[in-house]
Amino acid sequence: MKDNHLKKSIWVFHLNTGSCNGCDIEILDALTPYFDVERFGIKLVASPRHADVVLLTGPITVKTLPMVINALKAVPRPRYVLAIGACAVGGGIWYDTYSVIGGVKEFKKILEEHGVEIDKIVYVPGCPARPEAIIYGVALLLGLVKEKVSKEVVIIGEGSHH
C-alpha cells in the first residue's frame, strides 16, 4: 500500500453481496475480543462514504449487483477491496448458476464497463474464511506479512524433470 496514512487507520465497510452469512459472521467475529482487529486501527463504519476498504463477501447475485456497484462508487479513492471467502473469490459452490455473477473475476469486468476503478484487491479464500484468515488478508494489505501462496505448476510424465 502506497498510502502511508492508511497504514495506521483503516475503516472498513462490510458489503454482503448474497453470501451465506458464514464469512459475514466471521468478519464480525474478527471485531470481537478474541481477534479484535481494532488493534490494527481497523474500524467498521456504516456508510461507504467513510470507508477505505470494502469487505466484499458473497458471489454477487444478479439482484444485488446494482447496489454493489453503487456502494463501491460511493467509496472515496483510494479504495481497496478485500474479497472474502470462496464465493467472493471464485464464485463458490454456486459459481455457475443462473442468479449469480460468480466471483470477483467476472465482477471486475463489469466494474470496468462502469468505470469504477479499484486500487487494489486482496483475495482471501476460505469457506468460511476464518477470522485469522481475514486478519491475514488485512495484514497483507498493510504489508505486515508476506504472501505465502504462489502459482504452482508441476509437469508429470514423459519429458518432465521432477
Partner: protein, 170 residues
C-alpha cells in the same frame, strides 16, 4: 432493593475484570486453531496419477480435470475450495492430504492455482497419447499380467481384438 438493581449493570466491570484481555495476538501469536481444522489441500505430485476421482466428488469444482491432446491437467483452484476434504477421502493413491493451512490471501488471483500436468503416454501401435504414466504404473502394480496390452490405446486394443476374433472366425 431498587438501588441494588440500578447498580447491577455495573457488574459488567467485574465480569470484564475476571475475563481479562482474551485477545489472541495473531499474526504475532499462534492462531486459535484446533488439530481437526481442515484447510488447504496438498496434492502430492509424486503420487497423483491424474485419475480425476477427486474432481468428480468436488462439490464446488475447485478441482477440475481438463483433457487435451497430449496431457491431462488437474487444476486445484483454492479460491473456490470449500475445504470439505472429500477429495482426500476418495483419492485411490492417497495423494491428497488436508493441511491446516489457511493463510492463503493474495493480491493476484492466479496465485491460488495449483496445476498438475500429466503428460500422456503414447500408444505403442499408433502413437496416440492416451494414458498417464502414473496410471500405467498403478495398473501394472495391481494387475501385473496386464503388461501385454496396457500399452495400447483403447482404439488399437479394440482393433486388435476384432482382428483376433475375425481371424478365428475365418
Amino acid at each position: 432493593m431498587s438501588l441494588k438493581k440500578l447498580l447491577k449493570p455495573f457488574k459488567l466491570l467485574s465480569i470484564a475484570k475476571k475475563a481479562g484481555v482474551v485477545t489472541v495476538l495473531y499474526p504475532y501469536q499462534k492462531p486459535l486453531i484446533t488439530s481437526e481444522f481442515r484447510g488447504k489441500i496438498v496434492i502430492d505430485a509424486s503420487k497423483c496419477m491424474g485419475c480425476g476421482a477427486c474432481a468428480n466428488v468436488c462439490p464446488p469444482n475447485a478441482l477440475s480435470i481438463t483433457e487435451t491432446e497430449e496431457s491431462v491437467i488437474l487444476n486445484y483452484f483454492v479460491g473456490r475450495c470449500i475445504f470439505c476434504g472429500m477429495c482426500a477421502d476418495v483419492c485411490p493413491v492417497g495423494a491428497i492430504r488436508v493441511s491446516n493451512e489457511f493463510e492463503l490471501a493474495t493480491t493476484n488471483i492466479d496465485n491460488l492455482n495449483t496445476v498438475l500436468v500429466h503428460k500422456l503416454k503414447g500408444c505403442v501401435d499408433c502413437g496416440k497419447p492416451f494414458i498417464t504414466s502414473r496410471m500405467l504404473e498403478n495398473v501394472l502394480k495391481k494387475v501385473p499380467f496386464a503388461e501385454k496390452y496396457i500399452n495400447e490405446c483403447p482404439d488399437c486394443r479394440r482393433k486388435r481384438f476384432i482382428n483376433i476374433v475375425s481371424a478365428r472366425k475365418r
